[in-house]
């Protein structure tokens, strides 16, 4: 049973560019949450998608946007990249009926230069 799959694993972008990160949830999961983990810090909640809609959002600017597809997979888009956006971006999936059953992917390491 595949867990949460994220792509790409590593990415280098230039300031001002745009990036798209992808996540396939664990089989049977219908909710996808995205977290940003800066080096040496704990993950910070970005937003959560369920039924193709953004349901909750953390304290992140509008440059961060997302999408969920009918097959429950999700994308995280970041526009106008800043050096401070360099981080590990984690996707976590869960089932709505089990509010606390999160499974995290291994993340995408984004470096902005």
């Amino acid at each position: 049973d595949a867990g949460v799959t994220q792509s790409p694993t590593h990415l280098i972008k230039t300031r001002g560019q745009q990036v798209t990160l992808r996540c396939s949830p664990k089989s049977g999961h219908d909710t996808v949450s995205w977290y940003q983990q800066a080096l040496g810090q704990g993950p910070q909640f970005i937003f959560q998608y369920y039924e193709e809609e953004e349901r909750q959002r953390g304290n992140f600017p509008d440059r961060f946007s997302g999408h969920q597809f009918p097959n429950y997979s999700s994308e995280l888009n970041v526009n106008a990249l800043l050096l401070g956006d360099s981080a590990l971006y984690l996707c976590a999936s869960s089932r709505t009926q089990r509010r606390y059953g999160y499974t995290f992917g291994s993340g995408t390491r984004l470096t902005v230069v």
Partner: protein
């Protein structure tokens, strides 16, 4: 605003010793307190979790102690092994109607278990 404070930042324990990591929270609406283990290059993996109506939960060598009145909880790793060397995060979650709850994480503790 940091809602979950974690200490220490790093910890070195000898093999067979007890590792203790502490967390404190501010939001009394939190109703679920998990601990995650993260190895380099991997995402966090759930280790053990507790609800505030329980003062202690034990799973194998891992124990959570919870003090609701003090708004503190801690992770104890008994008989620490070199394979336990990782970064540990405490987290907290509050109820959310209709969808999965979001997690608020501490800043992490890097544990090193020496031979």
């Amino acid at each position: 605003q940091q809602q979950v404070k974690q200490s220490p930042q790093s910890l070195i324990v000898q093999k067979g010793g007890i590792s203790i990591i502490n967390c404190a929270y501010e939001n009394t609406a939190f109703d679920y307190f998990p601990w995650y283990q993260q190895f380099p290059g991997k995402g966090p993996a759930l280790l053990i979790a507790i609800r505030p109506d329980v003062s202690e939960k034990k799973e194998g060598r891992f124990t959570i102690s919870f003090n609701k009145s003090a708004k503190q909880f801690s992770l104890h790793i008994m008989d620490s092994q070199p394979g336990d060397s990782a970064t540990y995060f405490c987290a907290a979650s509050s109820p959310n109607t209709g969808t999965a709850s979001k997690l608020t994480f501490g800043t992490g503790t890097r544990l090193q278990v020496t031979l």
